[in-house]
C-alpha cells in the first residue's frame, strides 16, 4: 500500500522550501518592518502588489515568471547572455516557491511588528540604543511569535507549491519534481502506492510542524 522507490521528491521539496523560507525572511522582514510604521503615497499600491501572489491563480504566477525568466523573458534574455538558464531548473522551482510564500511572510511579519507597543521602541531610543540594536533586541524578540507563524505558513506554502512550479520548472526527476509535482504525475501514471506514500508523508510532516509551532507560540506570551 505504501511504497516509494524514488525519495528525491522529498529532499527536493525540503530544499526548495528551506530556500524559499530563507529568501522570504531576508526580503520580507526588513520590508515589513519598514512599512509597518510608515505612511507614504503609493503605500497601498505597493502593498497590494506585494500581496497579489497570495490570491492570483498559480497559473498566472507561472505565466508571469515565464515572462520574467523565460528564454525571451525580461531577465531571462540578460541571463542567457551570461550562459545562465533558469527555466526548468531547480532554481525556477525555488523561485516559484519564494514568490508564493512571500506574501504570507510579509503579512505575518507586518502584523507582528505592528503589535509591538511603540513605547518600547521609544523607550529604547531615549536610552541611547541605535535603531539596529532596537530592532534586534526589542522589536524582533517581541514580534517573534508572529514572525514564527509567518515562517511556518510560508514554509507550508512553499512546500505545497504546485501550479507555478509545474509551469516554470516542469517535472524533471531529481531536479524539479517536488512532492506535489511527483504526486500529480504518479496519479497520472496510475502509480497509487507512490502517490499515497507521498501524500501521507507531506500531510504528517505538515501537521507536526504546525502542531509544534502552535504549542511553542502558546508558551511565548509575556
Amino acid at each position: 500500500m505504501f511504497s516509494l522507490t524514488d525519495w528525491s521528491p522529498i529532499f527536493l521539496s525540503l530544499r526548495t522550501a528551506v530556500f524559499a523560507v530563507i529568501a522570504v525572511i531576508i526580503l520580507g522582514l526588513p520590508l515589513a518592518r519598514l512599512l509597518a510604521r510608515r505612511e507614504f503615497p503609493g503605500k497601498d499600491f505597493l502593498e497590494s502588489a506585494i500581496t497579489l501572489p497570495m490570491v492570483l491563480p498559480p497559473s498566472v504566477i507561472g505565466y508571469g515568471l515565464l515572462m520574467l525568466i523565460g528564454k525571451n523573458g525580461l531577465l531571462g534574455q540578460t541571463l542567457a547572455g551570461f550562459g545562465i538558464t533558469l527555466v526548468f531548473t531547480w532554481w525556477a522551482a525555488a523561485l516559484a516557491s519564494t514568490v508564493v510564500a512571500f506574501p504570507l511572510m510579509y503579512q505575518s511579519a507586518k502584523a507582528a511588528f505592528k503589535s509591538v507597543d511603540e513605547n518600547y521602541e521609544k523607550a529604547a531610543r531615549t536610552l541611547g540604543a541605535s535603531e539596529v540594536r532596537i530592532f534586534l533586541t526589542v522589536t524582533l524578540p517581541l514580534a517573534w511569535p508572529g514572525i514564527l507563524a509567518g515562517v511556518v505558513l510560508s514554509f507550508a506554502r512553499a512546500l505545497g507549491e504546485f501550479g507555478a512550479t509545474l509551469m516554470v520548472a516542469g517535472n524533471i526527476p531529481g531536479q524539479t519534481s517536488t512532492i506535489p509535482v511527483a504526486i500529480f504525475f504518479a496519479v497520472d501514471a496510475g502509480d497509487n502506492a507512490t502517490a499515497q506514500t507521498l501524500v501521507a508523508i507531506v500531510t504528517g510532516f505538515s501537521f507536526l510542524v504546525i502542531f509544534w509551532v502552535n504549542r511553542w507560540a502558546k508558551r511565548q506570551n509575556y
Binding site: 507597543d117 521609544k122 523607550a123 531610543r125 531615549t126 536610552l127 541611547g128 540604543a129 524578540p141 509575556y222
Partner: protein
C-alpha cells in the same frame, strides 16, 4: 538649565511652549488631549516640533533656524513612560543595563545594582516586569531612566496607574530623587495633588496654550476654580 520655545502644529490646534527651567520640578497640568505628552515627545526628540528651539545646558537639541534636530539617542534626556514601557522580555537587571550598554563612551560611575537597591527594588533584579507590582515597575523604570545619567528627566503621568498609598510614597521619593540628582524634572499630570506637592512651577495647558504660569499658591487657586 533647560530653555525651550517651541511650536507644534497638531491637527486641531497649535501647541506653544515657552520655558526656562533651572533644576526645578515643572508640572505640566491639563486635561487629556491638551498636548502634554506631545511636549515631552518634542523635548525627548521622539517628535519633531514645527518650529522653535530647545537648549539643554548650553547644548542645542533642536533649532528650526539652524536645522538642528538631535536624535533621542544623543539627547541625554531621561523619559519615564506612562505605562513604564519596561521591556517585557528582559529581567529587571537587563532593563536597567539596557541604556548603559548603548553608551560605550560613558564610563558610568553608576552601578545599576546599587541604583536598584537605592530604589528599594534590589531584590527583584532577576524578575520579569510581569512579576512586579505597579509601584515596583515604577521604581525600576525610574532606575532605568536615571542609569544613563540624563540631564533632564521627563515623567509622563508617573502615578496614574498606582493606588493611593503607593502614589503618596512615590511622590515623596520623586521629590527626594530630585534633590539628589539636581537636574530639571518635567512632570505631566492631571492630578492636582501631584501638582501641588511636586511642582516648583506649574504650567496649565489648555488646548496647547499655556494659559498660566504661576507659583504654587496661584496654581492651587487655579485648580480650585477648575473644580
Amino acid at each position: 538649565m533647560l530653555e525651550a520655545s517651541i511650536q507644534k502644529k497638531l491637527w486641531h490646534f497649535t501647541l506653544h511652549l515657552e520655558l526656562q527651567l533651572k533644576n526645578e520640578i515643572l508640572v505640566l497640568w491639563g486635561h487629556s488631549g491638551a498636548g502634554k505628552t506631545t511636549i515631552l515627545h518634542c523635548l525627548a526628540g521622539l517628535v519633531k516640533p514645527s518650529s522653535g528651539f530647545i537648549k539643554l545646558d548650553q547644548q542645542v537639541l533642536y533649532s528650526s533656524a539652524d536645522k538642528i534636530h538631535l536624535s533621542p539617542q544623543i539627547r541625554n534626556v531621561g523619559y519615564l513612560f506612562q505605562d513604564y514601557a519596561l521591556f517585557p522580555h528582559m529581567t529587571v537587571r537587563q532593563n536597567v543595563m539596557y541604556g548603559l550598554k548603548s553608551k560605550k563612551h560613558n564610563k558610568s560611575s553608576l552601578d545599576p545594582v546599587e541604583l536598584l537597591n537605592s530604589f528599594g527594588v534590589g531584590h527583584l533584579i532577576d524578575r520579569y516586569p510581569r512579576q512586579l507590582s505597579g509601584g515596583e515597575k515604577q521604581r525600576v523604570a525610574l532606575a532605568r531612566a536615571l542609569a544613563v545619567q540624563p540631564k533632564l528627566l521627563l515623567l509622563d503621568e508617573p502615578f496614574s496607574a498606582l493606588d493611593k498609598n503607593t502614589r503618596e510614597s512615590l511622590r515623596q521619593e520623586v521629590k527626594k530623587l530630585h534633590r539628589q540628582w539636581q537636574i530639571p524634572f518635567i512632570l505631566v499630570t492631571h492630578d492636582e495633588e501631584d501638582a501641588n506637592f511636586l511642582g516648583d512651577r506649574l504650567i496649565l495647558l489648555n488646548k496647547g496654550q499655556p494659559s498660566q504660569e504661576d507659583d504654587k499658591i496661584a496654581s492651587s487657586q487655579l485648580v480650585c476654580r477648575e473644580g
